[in-house]
C-alpha cells in the first residue's frame, strides 16, 4: 500500500458526493442497508439484532425492512454463530455477524483462527470466505474487565484475516462498505465511545480501501500513530502539543491488517520520532508491531527511541476511579511527546 489519503480526501470527488451529517452508528447502518439492498447474498446475524436492534443500536429497523430471514437473531452461541457464518460464506452467502462485545470473540477463536482465516490458503482458489464480523471494542464506560477489552492485536497474528477499526462516521461507512465487498473474512472493530459521534458522511457508494491509512494532521516534529477511538485522542493531544511548540503528525491507521506501513514509514522518515498509541495492553500489542516495522525499515531516521502509549498490563478495573488509570489518556501522549523533546526544550 502506498500513500495515505490526505485529510479530507475522499474516494469520489466531493463535488459529486452529497454529504450529510450522520452518527457513527447511522453510518454503519447505512453501509449495511445499502449492501443488503444491493446484494441478496448479504444477511446479518447476531444476538439481539432483530427487534432489539443490537446492543448498540446499529441494526435497529433492519428487521422491519429486510425480514427475519435476512436479519437473524441468534441464540447466545458465539462460536457457532461465527462457524455457521463461515459455512454460509464458503457456500456462497455474504454473512455479516455482530458479536455483542469484542471480549466475546474469545468464544469464536477456533472458527475464526483455524477455519475462516485458513480456508482460502488450505483449499486454494476454489474457496472464498466473504464474511464480516462486526464488534464493539474498548473501555471508558466502566463495564469492567470482560466487556471493555481491545483485543485486535491478537488477530494480527492470524494470516488470512483482515482487521479494520474506523474512527470517524465517514470511515465507518466507507470501510464497512469496502469490507462488505471483500472476499475475505474481515474483523470490523467498532468502538463503544464512537457510536454517538457525528460527522459528514458521503451518500451513495462510499468505499475506503482496506489497508490505507489516513493522515489526520500534518506535522514535522513527531508522528503519532493510532486508530479507532484513540485516533481522535491523538489528534486532541496534537493540538495540545502544538500549543507547547511541538508539531505532531497524526496518522489514523483505519486498517490494522493489511497495515499501511508505507504511510507510517514515510511519516517517521520525515519527523524522526514515533509514538504508537493504542487502547490495548502494551505488551504484544499493535504498537509493538509498528515499532518493529519502523526499527527494521527506518531505524536510521529515528532521532529518539520509539515510544508506546497503551493500557497498562492489567485486566481493566471497574471502578470509575481506576479505569482511567489502566487505560491510556491524552495526557500520557502529551507527556510522552514532551519527554522525547526534553533535551531540546
Amino acid at each position: 500500500m502506498t500513500g495515505a489519503a490526505v485529510v479530507g480526501q475522499r474516494a469520489t470527488p466531493a463535488s459529486m458526493t452529497p454529504m450529510r451529517e450522520l452518527t457513527y452508528w447511522q453510518a454503519l447502518q447505512e453501509a449495511l442497508c445499502d449492501a443488503m439492498r444491493r446484494d441478496p447474498a448479504v444477511f446479518v446475524m447476531g444476538e439481539d439484532i432483530g427487534t432489539y436492534g443490537g446492543a448498540f443500536g446499529v441494526t435497529r429497523g433492519l428487521l422491519e425492512e429486510f425480514g427475519p430471514e435476512r436479519v437473524r437473531c441468534t441464540p447466545i452461541s458465539e462460536g457457532t454463530i461465527v462457524g455457521a457464518a463461515t459455512g454460509a460464506a464458503l457456500t456462497g452467502m455474504r454473512p455479516v455477524v455482530e458479536i455483542m462485545f469484542m471480549d466475546f470473540l474469545t468464544l469464536t477463536m477456533d472458527q475464526l483462527a483455524n477455519h475462516a482465516a485458513k480456508f482460502r490458503y488450505m483449499y486454494g482458489p476454489q474457496a472464498r470466505v466473504p464474511m464480516v464480523i462486526r464488534t464493539p471494542a474498548g473501555g471508558g464506560r466502566c463495564y469492567g474487565a470482560t466487556h471493555s477489552q481491545s483485543l485486535e492485536a491478537w488477530f494480527l497474528h492470524v494470516p488470512g484475516l483482515k482487521v479494520v477499526a474506523p474512527s470517524t462516521p465517514a470511515d465507518a461507512k466507507g470501510l464497512l462498505t469496502a469490507a462488505l465487498h471483500d472476499d475475505n473474512p474481515v474483523l470490523f472493530v467498532e468502538h463503544k465511545l464512537l457510536y454517538a459521534n457525528s460527522g459528514d458522511v458521503p451518500a451513495g457508494d462510499h468505499r475506503v480501501p482496506l489497508g490505507c491509512a489516513a493522515l489526520r494532521r500534518e506535522g514535522s516534529d513527531v508522528t503519532l500513530v493510532s486508530y479507532s477511538y484513540y485516533a481522535g485522542v491523538a489528534l486532541a493531544a496534537a493540538e495540545e502539543l502544538a500549543a507547547a511548540g511541538i508539531d505532531a503528525e497524526v496518522i489514523d491507521l483505519r486498517s490494522l491488517a493489511p497495515l499501511d506501513t508505507a504511510t507510517i514509514l514515510a511519516s517517521v522518515r520525515k519527523t524522526g520520532r514515533l509514538i504508537c498509541i493504542e487502547e490495548g495492553p502494551r505488551t504484544g500489542g499493535v504498537s509493538a508491531e509498528i515499532a518493529a516495522v519502523v526499527a527494521e525499515h527506518a531505524y536510521e531516521y529515528l532521532d529518539a527511541p520509539v515510544r508506546r502509549v497503551g493500557a497498562i498490563d492489567t485486566p481493566i478495573p471497574f471502578s470509575p476511579a481506576l479505569e482511567p488509570a489502566a487505560l491510556p489518556q491524552r495526557s500520557d501522549i502529551v507527556r510522552t511527546a514532551r519527554e522525547m523533546f526534553a533535551c531540546r526544550r
Binding site: G83, G87, T91, P95, H115, Y121, M122, R128, G160, D182
Partner: protein, 326 residues
C-alpha cells in the same frame, strides 16, 4: 431413493475405494513414502457410503480429521486426493491442505477438519445457505462420538433446530475418542439421546450395515429436504485401526478389535447381503475390486510423478483477490 443395480454397485465401489485407498495409505506411510498425520476410516466405510448415496452434488458435507471416506463417498477425485496426500501441486488443494484439510467445494465437500467438532457449525452454515437460497439442498455434518462433547455440537444442534435448517448430524460412534473409550466420557447410552434436548428427531443406525445407514439417512435427508428440519443420526461403528497411522494401540483390548473385524466387517457384510439377495453377483464384486485396485495404483503412480508445488506457492492464496461487485 431406490437401490437400483447401479446404486448397489456404486455403493460397493465407494466402500471398496475407501478401504483400498486407505490400506494403500497405511502401506505408503509404513514404507516412509508418505508424510503427515493421517487418520484412517477403515471399518467405518458403510457410514460415509450409506449417507452419501442419498446425497446429490448440490448437497454439502462437512467432515473430520478422519475424512478420506467422506471425501471419496462425496465424489472427490481419488487421484487428486492421493496427490494431495503426497503434497503435490496436482492435489485437490494444490498440496497445501493435506489429509486433514481436503476440500472440494464444487463437489459439496466442505473439508476434512483438523479440529474435533469444528465441522458441525460449518455444515450448519451450509444448511443455512441452502435455506436462504432455497436450493433444496441439504448439509450433512459427519463427526465422531468425541465431538459430541464439544460446545460446537450442542450450539449447532440448538441453532439448526430453532431455525429448522435442512441439516443432518451424523455421529459416527466408533467407541473410541482418540485414545479414550467413549463410555468413559459420554454419560448417555446412546449419543442419539442428546437430540432430545434440542427437540430434534434422532435415529440410530447399524454403522456396519450399508443398508441400514442408507435407509435411516434417507429418512433424515428426506425430512431435511422437505422443510422438516434437522435430524441427529447416530451410526454405531468401529475404528479398525488406531487413532492415527502409527498408533501402537496399547490402550485398546485386542480381542475387541478382532471381534469387530471378523464378525462385523462392513464390506464383507455387504458382499454377503448382495450375493444372498441376488442384487450383485461374484463377477460384479471382483470386477469392482480389480477396477478400484488399478485406479489406486494409477493414482499413486501419477502422484509420485507429479511435481511438488513451486516454492513461490507458499505465499499465494493467503487472501482472495476480491472481485468488484455491485
Amino acid at each position: 431413493m431406490q437401490l437400483t443395480y447401479e446404486r448397489v454397485l456404486g455403493a460397493y465401489r465407494t466402500m471398496r475405494m475407501i478401504r483400498s485407498f486407505e490400506e494403500k495409505l497405511v502401506e505408503l506411510v509404513n514404507l516412509g513414502k508418505m508424510s503427515g498425520f493421517l487418520h484412517v476410516y477403515l471399518g467405518e466405510e458403510a457410514v460415509a457410503a450409506g449417507v452419501c448415496a442419498q446425497l446429490g452434488e448440490h448437497d454439502y458435507v462437512a467432515s473430520t480429521h478422519r475424512g478420506h471416506g467422506h471425501a471419496i463417498a462425496k465424489g472427490v477425485d481419488v487421484r487428486g486426493m492421493m496427490a494431495e496426500l503426497f503434497g503435490r501441486r496436482t492435489g485437490t488443494c494444490k498440496g497445501k491442505g493435506g489429509s486433514m484439510h481436503i476440500a472440494d467445494i464444487d463437489k459439496g465437500m466442505l473439508g476434512a477438519n483438523g479440529i474435533v467438532g469444528a465441522g458441525i457449525p460449518l455444515a450448519t452454515g451450509a444448511a443455512l445457505t441452502a435455506k436462504l437460497k432455497k436450493t433444496g439442498g441439504v448439509a450433512v455434518a459427519f463427526f465422531g462420538d468425541g465431538a459430541s462433547n464439544q460446545g460446537a455440537f450442542h450450539e449447532s444442534l440448538n441453532l439448526a433446530s430453532i431455525w429448522k435448517l435442512p441439516a443432518v448430524y451424523v455421529v459416527e460412534n466408533n467407541g473410541w475418542g482418540e485414545f479414550t473409550p467413549t463410555d468413559y466420557v459420554v454419560p448417555v447410552k446412546d449419543i442419539a439421546e442428546r437430540a432430545r434436548s434440542y427437540a430434534m428427531p434422532a435415529l440410530i443406525a447399524d454403522g456396519m450395515d450399508f443398508f441400514d445407514v442408507f435407509a435411516k439417512a434417507g429418512e433424515a435427508i428426506a425430512r431435511a429436504r422437505s422443510g422438516g428440519g434437522p435430524t441427529l443420526l447416530e451410526c454405531k461403528t468401529y475404528r479398525f485401526a488406531g487413532h492415527y497411522v502409527g498408533d501402537a494401540l496399547a490402550y485398546r483390548p485386542k480381542d475387541e478389535a478382532e471381534k469387530w473385524m471378523t464378525e462385523r466387517d462392513p464390506l464383507r457384510g455387504f458382499a454377503e447381503r448382495v450375493l444372498s439377495d441376488g442384487l450383485l453377483n461374484q463377477d460384479d464384486l471382483q470386477r469392482v475390486d480389480g477396477e478400484v485396485s488399478r485406479h489406486i495404483e494409477d493414482a499413486v503412480k501419477a502422484a509420485e510423478a507429479a511435481p511438488f508445488p513451486d516454492a513461490s506457492e507458499v505465499t499465494t492464496d493467503v487472501y482472495a483477490d476480491s472481485h468488484r461487485r455491485g
